[in-house]
Subunit: 656 residues, 2 copies
């Protein structure tokens, strides 16, 4: 068994100047669209939460994931294939290969982002180990097709072969765009060619039960300028929705094989599957110039966001099938909101933002990044929420720290899972986080996310622009963007004013301060070096009310501050209070910056007995009040096991 | 393959006089307790819903179940064992034998109840077919231990061998008590002896992942006066809760192996498992005179009823593990409320009623019988709800009629299921339904359920009493009980006044009418033949409010009428209305008997978009009203696919 050597401490390259880099160094580079994505290193994140997430990802999460995968034998599966040891029982579920590939993608981005020597070395070593497991014809999967294993493609609905290969292709996209041709890219080319041979026109008619190969083939095709890969992705999309995967206990919607993609009304079934598929469909709609499909996908997305999405941006209401529920089926206590679904939602929203320029997609990305994606990892990056509930009724059972957890339902993050898709998905997302900050058009820079960061771009019609963004957002609402360098030709700065930011104020150079409304604020100026644009976003905590059609939140309110959802942890309550008995009476004005304090009432607890009654207890007196700190949802559970609510009842009886 | 011949029409015996029968002809005959159960035929149900359920069960459901079991090959599994054909793939899940046994139990009760010749013949034929599959040492299971099958007892956690055998034993109890020793009883004795040999003291230490053998051994031990069986049941109970079944994806609570029975706080995990286990624990606590255990079980039950039970009496909040959720986790749209859990709840409540005499248990039995057990079957007895949701958001997908359904989530009842535990469980319950009507003590008759029925009992201290109960309850609230014959010695009549029946009035012979309160109303009189006791229960529809700690029903009310929960079907709404937009404004006084009409408001539907907002739309005007009929919950979906709600919002915004 070949072991990957782990670093004692992560070696870091010295702070490098921003390299002039082709804009194609990004995870998603569509052939067309309203906005152009930036090269990953056109944006250098320097401080704040995003920087913390990237640093912890590099120093903790990636080595942690590698250690666990070694420990549970998922990396040895590659060696076993190479060494002909596949007759022995194989550890891991059928798709465990994909975890190595997602980590590989993360390492590739990270190696490029910081020049981290350990990341670079690990890419090379892991690639070599994986390459040894590739069959002569390009097929690569440690679970099928070898001695003692089921035959290749013998379980398309649940076997995940194409799914896993898709993640390998995405890793190769990262590698190719950051380092050019190498062994990983060569392995991926052989895999992609093999998939095209096996599943191309006139060959095998199948599709994979878990979408992923589609968006991966599309991006690899874009990266390598290989139309065959895009054609294969399109073919997979066209084949879907015709029942070829057969029946499934949760219905064909589970793997979106119930209706053709263009005909769907909303995202449905298994959430990650639905979201990966939609990402691919946007990819193809954009590259094919298929405006009708893009419009249909946008309508499906709008339906999904307005009726099947949690306040946190989380998607997936059901534990049973990890799936979207029906419209307005959004239980808080059983919210699944898988971390991977949050990541996949960002993938879809990002593609739609690039395609349409509609700033609402950037709003959702921000919401989801802060309240799902950043919620999953513990601060130290070594434990994770798999599901992100909005209501923890009990502290839950402790999670195992010495072995993989089942998909934990607890207020405690777990180090690894039997299905451990989330940690490596987070790793690749955090390593490429800078891509979401800004975009360009020919004569404008769009800033979508407010982060302490440097931005250096070249505008087609104007020339090179560099910006220094300084902010403590979302702790504070002031965002200063200094124009560090500007061409002589005119260009505009476009700033997203979040949908909740009523009362935002903009100060542009040599112009009076002016109120700006949610949406896009266009700043035009006769730009000079050293100009500062100042956007002040109102961060007063606000009380948020749900659509009355959502049964699970009726009679409740939530508190938000800027892009962050707040929550009430049971541990913050006065001695003797129970989270079940609390009513939100109001918010308390607080002088201390980002602290949010709620005025709570303790509702007298009914005695036991039959819990449904025609008696009128509307006059019950709630006599106890307390001022209690609300915390950021994304940090919940960090201080230890606790109960927790995002939505808090606002009336003292059930019938007001 | 031996086929059971199905009747063209069910042969019925002429109406027979009530036989003088030993009171032990009942499903549950504890050795002690506050109340003594009656022999099954001490109560003859003559009309109304209960009679309908029994008739349809005999004429439709039992032949239907037999036909399906033959069709899907579950009966041939017995032949396959007898004929050494077990190398071929075996249809059905591991516990499919148990369906034959539950049907056998139903047939045994039915044969006795009506003298139905088809039922009697089928008992004999089915018994012969099963007996051929019994191994020489008494072991009987068509899924394990034969050529090509896994070894006996190789999967105690999920193999269901003891579970299935338990149902065989319960069928034998029915047979022995109604017909005495026969082949079925002999087969069951050999099974029970084998179980005692295999799992007795000093032998195999195991328990079954699905409780059932415990209550079955206890009752067979009572019936046959065989202490060894009771000892074995006690041993199984004592062994449980110590983790011997190992880990399980849903946790050890899934099969109640997390804590010893006496130490539990509430019923938890898989609902049917938890309820069958509790039934057995009550059996043993009673027979052992273990007052402490009985008190603990009562406290667990109280906790469960007050915090983990739906308005319908339904139990089990989670689809994922068919399990109880946490306290107050009672989602309506995802209510599982398995029909079998309703039956099992009645089993527990009945045992507790007999043990304690506490009339609250009879209240819950009534609620559960009307709103879960009677809800499951379609009126024609040939299709069933497996789960009994309280909120159907969409009409759901059509169910298959030509093949077994998965556990259908739809507004359409299905004819058979892959896991088809409910139809045969209903069959045995309906065939023995008369047992729940009344009990006796030495000098009193307790009437628990109001049904058009004759009751004939012999009171130890008074002598034979016969009563004619005439009522159209629950359509109408008047119950008349005529004393058809009475001994000279004094006795009392005890009538349950349901917990909701505020304003009930009692008219006893030669006494002024008097108001009676919920609980037990004791009627003493110098009884004379022909005396009539008249109880008038108020059946005005009432608005019911939930415990404010139940998040899923906050801001909603339900409507009940007598013991029946009402519901609103989408099909009843005016053209263009959507069930999501409806607010309950009040009830409309109706002259027409049992019709319940609600005044509904149509809430203006918000436009699409992000569904959470700080905008105050509390002033939105709801301009449309309509008077809409509410239907019985138990009949929902009978008129065709529809949406449905039990709990209806009562405020026009989410924040009132």
């Amino acid at each position: 068994m070949t072991s990957v050597i782990l670093p004692d401490s992560v070696e870091r390259a010295p702070d490098r100047p921003l390299p002039p880099h082709p804009p194609s160094v990004a995870p998603v580079v569509p052939s067309d669209g309203a906005l152009t994505p930036l090269a990953l290193d056109a944006v250098r994140i320097k401080g704040g939460l995003w920087s913390h997430l990237q640093d912890v990802n590099a120093s903790a999460t990636m080595p942690h994931a590698l250690t666990w995968m070694e420990q549970v034998g998922w990396l040895d599966n590659f060696d076993a294939v190479a060494e002909g040891r596949t007759d022995a029982p194989r550890p891991g579920l059928s798709f465990s290969d994909s975890e190595a590939y997602k980590l590989l993608e993360a390492l590739a981005w990270e190696s490029h982002r910081t020049g981290d020597a350990w990341a670079e070395r690990t890419v090379v070593e892991l690639t070599a180990r994986i390459a040894r497991a590739q069959d002569a014809d390009g097929y690569l999967d440690t679970c099928f097709g070898h001695d003692g294993q089921d035959a290749r493609w013998s379980d398309l609905p649940m076997g995940h072969e194409l799914y896993s290969m898709g993640h390998l292709l995405q890793a190769a996209v990262a590698r190719y765009r950051t380092a050019g041709e190498d062994e990983l890219v060569a392995v991926a080319r052989r895999v992609a060619d093999h998939v095209c041979d096996e599943f191309g026109p006139g060959a095998r008619e199948g599709i994979c039960g878990h979408p992923e190969i589609e968006t991966a083939l599309a991006e690899l095709g874009r990266a390598l300028d290989e139309p065959r890969y895009l054609d294969q992705a399109r073919l997979f999309l066209q084949r879907r929705g015709h029942g070829s995967l057969g029946d499934q206990p949760h219905g064909r919607a589970y793997f979106q094989d119930d209706v053709p993609i263009a005909d769907a009304v909303a995202l449905r079934g298994h959430a990650v599957r639905a979201l990966y598929l939609t990402a691919a469909a946007v990819d193809l709609a954009v590259d094919d110039g298929d405006a009708d499909l893009l419009r249909r996908l946008g309508a499906q997305w709008d339906h999904t966001v307005s009726r099947r999405t949690y306040l946190t941006g989380g998607m997936g209401s059901r534990h049973q099938d990890e799936g979207f529920g029906e419209d307005f089926e959004l239980p808080n206590d059983r919210a699944y909101c898988e971390s991977c679904a949050g990541i996949a939602s960002v993938m879809v929203a990002w593609r739609l933002l690039l395609a349409t320029g509609d700033v609402r997609h950037a709003d959702l990305i921000e919401r989801t990044l802060y309240n799902v994606v950043a919620t999953s990892p513990r601060t130290d990056g070594k434990a994770f929420f798999y599901a992100n509930t909005l209501h923890q009724r009990t502290e839950g059972e402790p999670v195992a720290t010495d072995r993989p957890s089942p998909r934990a339902e607890s207020s405690t993050r777990a180090p690894w899972f039997d299905v451990s898709c989330c940690p490596t998905n987070l790793a690749r997302t955090f390593a490429s986080l800078s891509c979401y900050v800004a975009t360009v058009t020919s004569d404008a820079v769009q800033v979508h996310q407010y982060v302490d960061a440097s931005i250096a771009v070249t505008l087609h019609d104007a020339g090179p622009v560099s910006l220094e963004m300084r902010t403590s957002y979302p702790d504070e609402g002031v965002v200063e963007i200094e124009v560090a360098s500007t061409p002589d030709r005119p260009w505009t700065l476009q700033l997203r004013v979040p949908s909740w930011a009523h009362g935002a104020v903009l100060e542009a150079p040599r112009q009076p301060a002016r109120p700006v409304s949610p949406g896009t604020c266009v700043v035009e100026a006769d730009w000079q070096h050293g100009d500062v644009v100042r956007l002040v976003l109102p961060l007063e905590p606000r009380v948020t009310h749900p659509d009355p059609r959502i049964d699970a939140t009726r009679g409740c309110a939530a508190v938000e501050r800027g892009p962050e959802v707040m929550c009430l942890e049971g541990r913050e309550l006065p001695e003797g209070w129970d989270l079940d008995d609390v009513v939100l009476t109001g918010l308390v004005a607080s002088d201390s910056g980002d602290e949010v304090v709620a005025d709570l009432t303790r509702r007298p607890q009914p005695t036991d007995g039959w819990p449904y009654t025609s008696a009128d207890d509307g006059g019950a007196v709630a006599s106890e009040h307390a001022e209690v700190r609300l915390g950021r949802y994304r940090s919940w559970g960090e201080a230890g096991p606790t109960t927790m609510r995002v939505w808090i009842p606002i009336s003292s009886t059930s019938r007001d």
